[in-house]
């Protein structure tokens, strides 16, 4: 089960709602118990026996949190922190990175010997493992740092670790935030319910209408791997993927936040119109906010941050971005993606201090902002190309073409090569660019809609849903971040 299966909306969410506010109305403990059981049911339906891994992570971090809180013995506290980190990182390492390490080892060993070939283990990647391990690790680290107290009840903590809307693909929620949300009995409100519905419908439309349709074009180019020297084709496919990944992931976040609203819980925002960013730093303040803040708080700052000199800052930034890239997936293209983002951040950081550049952007006003936006987005989309293509035989020529190294422009060839549905995809991509631009300027469209008169709300949401039903391509594409 996931957020685009009808069963989620027809059976799962209504049952959760009815149980939480019907049977367990105004009884906090019962509500949490119901949410926990239903979260486990959701996870079981999504990932089967991997539920055990979630239980292990939950139990270890719960125990570590309690033990660290109970003692002032620094060594003991450190030991419990290590247990928590080792457990979570081991789960990640075994289930997500083991085969990647074996393959990389085989690749290296091939250089020196032709017989040493270790077989891949072939473990299936547990759904959401990157998200819930990061979430529970942050809990243990915060208690170790004495930044927060442990949860009073195991039930509350288990619910925090497994809360179904954000369990599979975030947002990565901080323990304190969730504790605040559930400290009183959960109570629905008409406004909140409608806001939840708005976010869910908006998310469904964004995923099915835009993400899945533009994905067909991106896939055609990058999977077929033909005409990779055609600049028009590579730019178009990269633009399509950039739109796809944003609409896909932000749609998931919208549905997650919307589902949580229905049951009276508020989750943090994960995106703020990232393609309106005018610098790499600005981009990371707008893209996957819950991950970027996590990386900042638990990697970048502990590694030295920006207050320990230039070299330390470069090291911390590059390590953070490399690991951030690797977090996305066990593949070298993700490492490269992180590396390029790290370089962009460093170049921006030091470049903006160069007097000429500082003076230029200071003097040019809006034109400078436009130029800054263009450069930023050019490189952001360049990194999406790296993110999308795992096969180096396709990636390298595509990268060269993207930056104009060789290559040619042939509109006819691009037109002939692309899938049959072209005008519609172009229209949808254009609509996205327009709406994203407006949203970047004004913002808060979903909240605005949730406050409108029932007629306006009904007309907008009914239309969005009918478009989602009609315009989704024949085969629904899995959420991209399910793989992470």
């Amino acid at each position: 089960m996931d957020f685009v299966t009808p069963e989620y909306y027809l059976y799962f969410l209504p049952v959760v709602f009815l149980l939480t506010f019907g049977i367990a109305s105004r009884q906090r403990r019962r509500q949490i118990l119901i949410l926990l059981i239903m979260s486990y049911v959701f996870f079981w339906l999504a990932s089967g026996w991997h539920l055990i891994l979630l239980l292990i992570s939950t139990c270890i971090d719960w125990t570590a949190g309690r033990k660290m809180h109970e003692t002032d013995d620094h060594a003991l506290r450190k030991r419990w922190l290590r247990i928590s980190l080792i457990t979570n990182l081991s789960l990640l390492g075994v289930f997500k990175y083991l085969d990647f390490l074996i393959e990389s080892w085989n690749l290296v060993s091939l250089r020196f010997t032709d017989s040493l070939d270790v077989g891949a283990v072939g473990l299936a990647l547990p759904v959401g493992i990157s998200f819930y391990t990061f979430q529970t690790m942050s809990y243990a680290i915060d208690i170790y740092r004495k930044k927060q107290k442990p949860y009073d009840s195991f039930l509350d903590f288990a619910c925090y670790a497994a809360f179904f809307p954000q369990l599979v693909a975030g947002p990565i929620v901080r323990a304190d935030h969730f504790r605040e949300q559930i400290k009183e009995p959960l109570a629905p409100s008409a406004y909140r319910f409608r806001l939840g519905l708005t976010l869910i419908i908006y998310g469904i439309a964004k995923k099915l209408v835009i993400a899945d349709n533009v994905a067909v074009h991106a896939n055609e180019v990058f999977i077929e791997g033909e005409h990779l020297a055609n600049i028009g084709l590579i730019w178009w496919a990269t633009l399509c993927f950039g739109i796809q990944i944003y609409c896909d992931f932000s749609a998931y976040s919208d549905i997650a936040i919307g589902s949580a609203h229905l049951i009276g819980v508020e989750l943090p925002e994960n995106f703020k119109t990232p393609y309106a960013a005018t610098s790499p730093q600005d981009f990371w303040r707008r893209w996957h906010i819950s991950l970027s803040t996590w990386l900042r708080d638990y990697l970048y700052i502990p590694l030295g941050g920006s207050r320990n000199g230039r070299n330390r800052m470069i090291f911390a930034l590059m390590m953070t971005m490399l690991l951030g890239g690797l977090w996305h997936g066990a593949s070298w293209n993700f490492v490269l993606w992180g590396l390029v983002h790290g370089l962009l951040l460093i170049v921006h950081r030091f470049g903006k201090e160069i007097p000429f550049i500082k003076g230029f952007f200071g003097a040019t006003g809006r034109i400078g902002v436009l130029l800054s936006w263009t450069i930023t987005q050019f490189f952001v989309f360049f990194t999406w190309l790296i993110f999308r293509v795992e096969d180096t035989a396709v990636l390298i020529p595509s990268m060269k073409t993207f930056v104009g190294w060789g290559g040619y422009f042939d509109r006819e060839e691009a037109y002939e090569f692309l899938p049959e549905i072209k005008f519609l995809t172009f229209t949808l991509a254009s609509c996205f660019v327009l709406l994203h631009g407006i949203s970047g300027k004004i913002g808060g469209g979903k909240e605005w809609l949730a406050r409108r008169h029932p007629v306006i709300w009904g007309a907008a949401c009914g239309t969005m849903l009918s478009l989602a039903f009609y315009l989704r391509p024949a085969e629904t594409i899995d959420f991209i971040y399910f793989r992470f």
């Binding site: 406004y191 519609l424 029932p454 007629v455 239309t463 849903l465 009918s466 024949a474």
Partner: protein
């Protein structure tokens, strides 16, 4: 429980429960209206004019039943495949029966099989026809397990039928459908708008192209290209009514052959044809047979007279049939005659047929249609 939930939902952030319910109600109405509108104005015209599918006729059944329902005359409706399409001349039968108030409709669909055609059973019953001429030839009884390459056709027909399907059209036929085929049929809860989704993107693409002048979209490219055979007139127009009685047909296929080709056709092609599953009917464990039984039983239970009509086959082919080859076909007719209000008319074994009466091995041409017309008129005259 409900009261507590209602209280909780009320009066927060300036939106009360009534406002929320009103919002959901309006949203649902907009959803229903907009989906219906998009289907009617964006998809269906391009299906009828055969832009999105090979033949607009695939889509006529349900609209045809609406027309038949409104017809106050004594209505006779032919259901089946292209055998019916080429074999039943509605206007000829109309004029041959000496009674004025009879309407004979031909809704045979190219490539149709009982397994697909049974989806219209409930709609047919609700349209209250007086007589149904149900095609029952050996080809209607072939077993799917013997055939390959049919799945795409079944998927396409199920999806097109689903565009027109209402909740009241669902019935016992659902139980006959194979599990793998059920996903091609829209269901209001489990699989809503699947068929619209299949065609909408192509339809929207076509309309967008026509907006920028890349395609001509006057709703009937087939007509402009001189392919009237493939296009269907807009439902519920006078042209549509004529179409339902007497669909345009292709000129005789066998006339395109020279003597050598005809000799090859009769000596090689036809014997090969007769080896196929289409001409070796099965009557047991057969989805087509089950579908036929379902239709006959449903019509019979609702007091609708049914004539099981077996259209003739090219005489040379009949002479090449092996002994007992059609026994299962004959047995099926006997089985189905066990239901009330059912009669049969097996034209295969009549000796009136000449090769010239046929368009090809199994479809009739002008003179063949006239012969069927006179036989059917006599039969119907007794019933009216």
């Amino acid at each position: 429980m409900v009261v507590i939930m209602a209280e909780s939902l009320s009066e927060k952030n300036n939106l009360n429960l009534a406002g929320l319910l009103k919002s959901i109600f309006i949203g649902s109405i907009v959803l229903i209206i907009s989906t219906q509108t998009l289907s009617t104005y964006i998809i269906q015209p391009l299906i009828f004019d055969s832009t999105l599918v090979r033949h607009g006729r695939y889509a006529i059944s349900f609209d045809a039943w609406e027309t038949i329902e409104k017809d106050e005359q004594y209505s006779v409706v032919g259901i089946g495949s292209s055998l019916t399409q080429y074999g039943l001349n509605g206007s000829c039968i109309d004029s041959s029966i000496m009674t004025n108030d009879v309407g004979v409709y031909n809704i045979g669909i190219p490539g149709g099989y009982p397994y697909v055609e049974m989806m219209q059973t409930e709609r047919a019953i609700n349209s209250h026809p007086d007589v149904i001429i149900l095609e029952l030839n050996p080809i209607n009884l072939f077993s799917f397990s013997d055939a390959t390459g049919l799945n795409d056709y079944i998927e396409m027909r199920f999806e097109i039928n689903s565009l027109f399907l209402k909740i009241s059209d669902f019935g016992g036929w659902e139980e006959i459908i194979r599990v793998e085929d059920l996903s091609h049929i829209d269901h209001p809860l489990s699989n809503p708008y699947n068929s619209e989704n299949t065609y909408f993107n192509s339809a929207a693409e076509y309309h967008l192209k026509s907006l920028v002048g890349s395609e001509i979209n006057d709703g009937s490219w087939a007509k402009n290209a001189g392919l009237q055979y493939l296009a269907v007139p807009e439902p519920h127009t006078s042209e549509w009514n004529n179409y339902l009685q007497n669909p345009p047909l292709l000129p005789r296929y066998l006339d395109t052959f020279n003597n050598t080709e005809l000799e090859y056709y009769e000596n090689i092609t036809i014997p090969n044809f007769l080896e196929r599953a289409r001409y070796n009917p099965h009557s047991e464990s057969n989805l087509n047979k089950l579908a036929l039984e379902y239709m006959v039983k449903s019509f019979s239970n609702n007091g609708i007279k049914t004539i099981l009509l077996s259209y003739p086959i090219y005489p040379t082919a009949v002479s090449l049939l092996s002994e007992n080859q059609f026994d299962q076909h004959n047995n099926t007719i006997l089985d189905l005659l066990g239901y009330d209000n059912v009669e049969s008319l097996n034209l295969i074994w009549l000796d009136i047929w000449e090769n010239q009466d046929f368009y090809d091995i199994e479809h009739l041409d002008v003179s063949g249609r006239e012969k069927v017309c006179s036989i059917m008129s006599a039969k119907l005259a007794q019933m009216v």
